[in-house]
Each structure stands twice: as C-alpha cells, then as structure tokens.
C-alpha cells in the first residue's frame, strides 16, 4: 500500500512541478523570440515530460554512484558502450564503402545501425566459434564449479574466465558455442520453414482451386492451436519416437518448428502471390505456355522478395525465441550441445548469489541477454525495413 501512495505522490509532484515549469516559462520574457513562442505553444504534458525526464536522469545518476548497485552500473555501462559502438559503426558506414552503402547508412536510424552491427558480430562469433572459443564445448575439466572472474583467491581460475559448470565444462566456451548452435539451428529452421511455406503459398496462389482450399483449411486448423503448445505436444510424441537418441530429438524439433512456422509464411506467400498472379505479365507468361516452375521462380518470386525478406527477419526472431524457450523448458536442443536456453535453466539458481558475487549471478543473465540482444537487433533492422518499404512518414 505504501508503494502505491508513494507512486501517486511522486506522480502528483511531477505533474505540479511540470505545470509550474510551463507557467513560469510563459511568464518569463525570454531573450529569443523562438523560446517565447515555444513556451507559449507548449502543451501541459510536454512540460510534465521535461520534469519527468529530469527526475529520471537524476534517478539514473543517483543509482549509478551508489556502491552496491553493481548490476545497474553494468546495465548503464553496457548501454553507453553499445550506443557508442553503434554510433561509430554508423559514422564509419556513412563515410566508407561504395556509394550505395554510404547512401543507405545516411538514411538509416541509429537503432538500425546498432542492429546491423550486432548481427554482424553474432554471425562472426557463430561462424568462427571453433577458433574463438578457448576450449571445446564438451571438454570436461577436473575443476568443477569454478567461480567467474579468473581470480584464484576468490575461487576462480585464470584459465576459465567465466568459470566452469557443475560438470567442469568451461562456461565461456559453452557461451560461444551456444551461439553457434542456437543461432545456427534457428537459422536452418527458418530457412526450412520458408522453403515449405513459400512453396505451398505460391503453389496455392498459382494453382488456386481445390489445392488452395485444402492447404489453406489445413493451415487454418494448425494455426488454431497456439504454436508453443502444439510444438510441445508434437515434441512429446517425437521424443517417444526418438527414444534415447538425443541428436534425433534435436532434428525432430527442427522439423516440427519449421512446419509449424511455415503456416505463417504460407499465409504471407499466398497473399503476396495472389496479388502478383492477377498481373498482366503472369497472364502473358501463361499464354506463352510457360511451365509452373517458370511462373513461380522467374515471375512470382522476384516480385515477392521484399515482403518475404522482412518476414524472414521476423520469423527468425520467432523461431529463435521458440527454440530458446523449448530449450529452457528442457525439451529443445539436447546436451551435450551447448545452447543458451539450456544454459539459462542450468545456471538460473546462481541469480540468488547476486549480493555476494555479482559476476556469478550475471551468468544466467549473460546467456539470456545474448538471446535478447540478437532478437532486439534483428527486430530493429526489420522495423526500419518495414518503415522504409511502407513509406510511412507520419
């Protein structure tokens, strides 16, 4: 109850101060005419917004310099470092490269530059995981539960920067390999989903008739069950088929998620395809007697590229999050493959040590944050692409 009273009184105080700020701004005769006009036309909410912003800044600074708020400090530092890095990347892209790429960078917002930079970093990390990781993902050492930090006196070991897990595997290596496995598997799944979804979607659009009806109704029925739930149900059955073969479970999971996700791709491909099929050039191609494969690959596909590409980004995020969630629940990617979802689950208990050893508590957050960072980055890029293609200005 106290918190509620506290919150309401703060909101009231900010509101009153904001009102006073606006009123004072209107009364004072500013030296520049622009400021005078600005204050005259300022809505009340903008005045409150200014005060709120100041309070927010104060709170951030206050907590930043408090001794015990290690995590908050890390978060702020991370935010500043990432902003600075993406700003550098942005400026770099504006001045270096071909004419086209420079123009592209000039038009993109900072968030999109951040997204592209992060995606590149992830791609490099995943592709060269074998070179970058200090040890193998399945390599077991004799020192178990080494604390992160590399400080021998504090229970760490300079050989294992992030420590080892309960089996004695190096966590830094597993984090890097986890990227390779999680991102790679999600990428493969998305491509598979697109192959299935786009093929059926375009076929439904060109053939129409009973084929379209049958496939569309089937997709409707599949979409009526929430995706994660359906995936869990099918995975139960798949694990029964796979028995104790862990690799097979991962394979089944890829196929199941790809099929479930292809329903959305199908919807989009069919809708886009139907818009293209009615064009005159398709009619002309049909009259020329072109084959179905020619129609789909040479006429429809090139014209459906842009929406499908944006959808690819969104689908990738979705698949990535689904796989991470399944692994987190213990039914996704199977050990000994390292992956972020499973790591979060295995390390989650460490979060209770936050007050004594912040770095240990940060371990599960690192794996979870790695997932979040990539999806955020992809979403930023997709958001920018959609905004550009829709031509929305307002």
């Amino acid at each position: 109850m106290d918190t509620v009273v506290w919150l309401i009184s703060w909101a009231l105080a900010i509101g009153i101060v904001g009102g006073v700020f606006r009123f004072a701004g209107q009364k004072i005769r500013w030296p520049s005419e622009q400021l005078n006009i600005y204050f005259r036309d300022m809505p009340l909410m903008v005045g409150i917004g200014f005060v709120f912003g100041v309070v927010l800044l104060y709170v951030v600074f206050h907590y930043y310099f408090i001794e015990k708020s290690t995590f908050f400090r890390w978060a702020v530092q991370g935010f500043v470092i990432f902003s600075a890095a993406s700003w550098l990347f942005w400026t770099f892209g504006k001045h270096v490269g071909t004419r086209g790429s420079r123009k592209l960078f000039r038009k993109m917002p900072l968030t999109a530059a951040f997204g592209i930079m992060t995606i590149i970093v992830y791609a490099v990390l995943s592709i060269f995981a074998g070179v970058l990781a200090p040890y193998g993902q399945e390599e077991i050492f004799d020192k178990i539960n080494v604390l992160p930090g590399g400080d021998l006196a504090a229970g760490g070991d300079p050989r294992f920067l992030l420590g080892t897990d309960q089996l004695g595997r190096d966590l830094l290596s597993r984090l890097i390999y986890g990227g390779q496995n999680t991102v790679g598997i999600a990428f493969m799944t998305t491509i598979l989903a697109f192959l299935i979804g786009a093929t059926f979607g375009f076929l439904a659009a060109t053939l129409g008739g009973w084929f379209d009806q049958v496939v569309s109704r089937g997709v409707d029925a599949m979409m009526a069950i929430p995706q994660l739930i359906f995936a869990l149900l099918l995975l139960t059955i798949a694990t029964a088929w796979a028995g104790s073969n862990k690799g097979l479970i991962t394979l089944y999971m890829i196929v199941i998620i790809a099929v479930l996700d292809s329903t959305r791709v199908f919807r989009l491909a069919r809708a886009v395809g139907f818009n293209i099929v009615v064009m005159d050039y398709i009619e002309a191609a049909k009259l020329r007697g072109e084959k179905l494969s020619y129609l789909i690959f040479r006429e429809i596909l090139p014209n459906a590229y842009a929406p499908l590409l944006a959808e690819f980004g969104l689908r990738f995020c979705f698949v990535f999050l689904t796989i991470a969630a399944l692994s987190f629940l213990g039914i996704g990617i199977q050990p000994p493959l390292a992956d972020w979802g499973t790591m979060v689950r295995d390390l989650s208990q460490f979060i209770n040590f936050a007050q004594f050893s912040p770095l240990t508590a940060a371990l599960p957050l690192m794996a979870a944050g790695a997932i979040a960072l990539l999806t955020v980055a992809v979403n930023f890029v997709v958001d920018w692409m959609l905004h550009q293609s829709s031509g929305l200005k307002d």
Partner: protein, 333 residues
C-alpha cells in the same frame, strides 16, 4: 439487430467447428505415438498379458473413431481421463482413479486452471490500461523524444525472451531489493492479498511483454486513422490534439484495438508456460511442461485442448466485439 445475431451465431458455429477440428488434430497427433498407451504406461519390459490387460482396460482395442468419440464424450462430461503418473500412484493407494479421485486429470487440472486464470487476469488488469494510455500518448506525441523512447523500449521488451525479463525482474525486485517473493508457491487456503503478492512478479513479467505489443498496435491503429479527411477537418476546426485523438480517432480505432487486446490475452494464456516454470507457479502451464517431460499423454492432451480452447474463444470474442464496434461490419452488403 437480427443481422447481428446471425453474424454472432455464424461466428460461434465457426468457432465450434474449429474446436472440433483441433480436437481431431490433437487426437490424431497423440495416436502417432509408437506402440500405444499401454506400452507407454508399462514400459518396454512389460509382458504381453499385462499390455493386453491394460489395452482392454483403456479400450485401446477399439477402432480409432470409437476411441475418439469416447474421449470427446468424456471431455464433454468433464472427464479428461486418468493421468499415467497419478494412475500408478493411486493404484498403490488402492483407489479407483477413473472415478474422479486423485488420479483423474480433471481433479489435477481444476485448481491449476484457476491459478493460471488468476495470473492471466492480474497481468491483464495491469497491462490493458497502461498500454492503452501509453499508446494514445505515443500517438499524440508521435515522433517526439517520448515516442522514440517508448518505441525503442517496447521493441526491446517484445523481442526479449520471457525468461530474460523474468530473471531481470527477479534480480532487481527479489534478490537485490527483496520487495517481492521470487517463488510463487500458492495454496488454496491463502488469503487474497497474500496470493496477489505472490502472483505479482510473474504477472509483472507477462505485463512487460504484453504491454509493449498492445501499446504499439494501439499507436499504429490511431496513427493509421490520423491521415483520414474527417480527422483533418476536426483539426482544422481548431479542436485540441488530445480531443481529436480521444473523441474522433479512438472510437474508429476501437475494432483493431479490441482485436489486439484479445490476441494478447490469448498470448497471455500461452505465454504463461515459460513464466510459470520460471516462478514455479502452480498453474496449468507448469503441469503441461512436466507432463511433456514424463510423457503423461492424457494430461498433455487435456492441457493442449484447454489452451487451444482458450485461444479460440478469445479470438472469437475479438471477432464478435470488433463486429459490434463497427457499424460497417454490422450491416454487411
């Protein structure tokens, strides 16, 4: 008025058909199991006679259509079958599980279903007003610093996995500043406030994820309308921007907003799975995941059907409400 009733009946019928198809789909999926239930219960070392006995007991030697109708008939009477895990337990306890005792799926589901509904309701009560207000404000002050900030932060929270949001909340609100409990162990005898406090952290997690989505859609729905001539007219008359949005744009944006709210409530129902596992909340989602792990098929089947039913029901409600809110849809040509 007659047309509206007809449309609603039509939609309800469609919903029922969908539900039927979904139940067939679930039943078919479960029947793709290698071997059958009897084998699954007894494991691989079972003798032929034992398997045959259980098969007889569960009615597995009937043909699939008969089994399906039995299953569906049972569900309509509130009987979801017998949980494998509990069946083993209750046979030790000497109880007949099929009579609705401890072993029945329905008895297991009921309290958990209530808990999940409670969690979803708390999350919805917090998130719906916040997201509407934020969405309207973002539309009102579009392209301002406030709008950019809200845009970036909502996009971030949409794209983060639920467990990341959950653990960050646990870190700050339960471990570093012990304000709320990080484990939601809920019992039937708890008082309402106690229950609410225990539910608050999982509800906040869901709120963060769902609010972002609803807020973005509210903003988009309103901004979509702002280009229309009647809004420009209102603006030219000299009406204040806030009034234009709340009284002129909002009523017309109601249909898409209702749709989004319902979709997100539907998402809440499924999104609870991960969140319940993180907070060890005794809801239906956790039961579902546990049953998946031990391959307790009757429970998995029942949970799946309940989730799907909730999902369909909410989508149906969204459909009907958006028809009711839009006169153009109420009088189809």
């Amino acid at each position: 008025m007659k047309a509206v009733a007809l449309i609603i009946l039509n939609r309800l019928g469609l919903g029922l058909v969908t539900l039927f198809v979904v139940s067939v789909l679930i039943f078919a999926a479960v029947n793709m199991l290698p071997g059958d239930f009897a084998q699954a219960i007894l494991g691989q070392g079972a003798t032929e006679e034992a398997v045959a006995a259980i098969r007889e007991d569960l009615g597995l030697n009937k043909n699939p259509v008969a089994r399906y109708t039995d299953w569906l008939g049972g569900i309509l009477k509130g009987d979801f079958g017998v949980s494998f895990a509990q069946a083993n337990f209750s046979s030790f306890a000497g109880e007949d599980a099929s009579k609705g005792g401890i072993g029945s799926v329905a008895a297991q589901l009921e309290p958990r279903f209530k808990n999940t509904l409670f969690l979803a309701a708390v999350a919805a009560i917090i998130s719906v007003p916040i997201s509407l207000i934020l969405g309207i404000m973002a539309a009102l002050y579009r392209n301002s610093i406030f709008d950019r900030f809200v845009n970036v932060s909502t996009l971030t929270s949409i794209s983060s996995p639920e467990f990341f949001v959950a653990y960050v909340l646990i870190l700050f609100l339960a471990v570093l500043n012990p304000v709320l409990p990080s484990l939601s162990n809920i019992f039937a005898e708890m008082s309402f406030t106690e229950r609410l406090i225990k539910t608050l952290l999982p509800a906040l997690t869901l709120t963060l994820v769902v609010t972002a989505h609803m807020m973005r859609m509210t903003r988009a729905a309103i901004i979509n309308l702002l280009a229309s001539p009647y809004i420009e007219m209102a603006r030219l008359k000299g009406i204040k921007p806030a009034r234009v949005i709340v009284f002129h744009a909002l009523p017309n944006a109601l249909a898409p907003i209702i749709n989004v709210i319902a979709l997100n409530l539907a998402y809440l129902v499924t999104g609870v799975v991960v969140v319940e596992v993180v907070f060890v909340y005794p809801g239906i989602g956790q039961l579902f995941v546990d049953s998946v792990k031990i391959r307790d098929i009757p429970v998995v089947q029942a949970c799946c059907l309940i989730f799907a039913a909730a999902y369909i029901l909410l989508n149906l409600t969204a459909d009907i409400f958006s028809i009711l809110s839009n006169p153009r849809l109420r009088h189809p040509k």
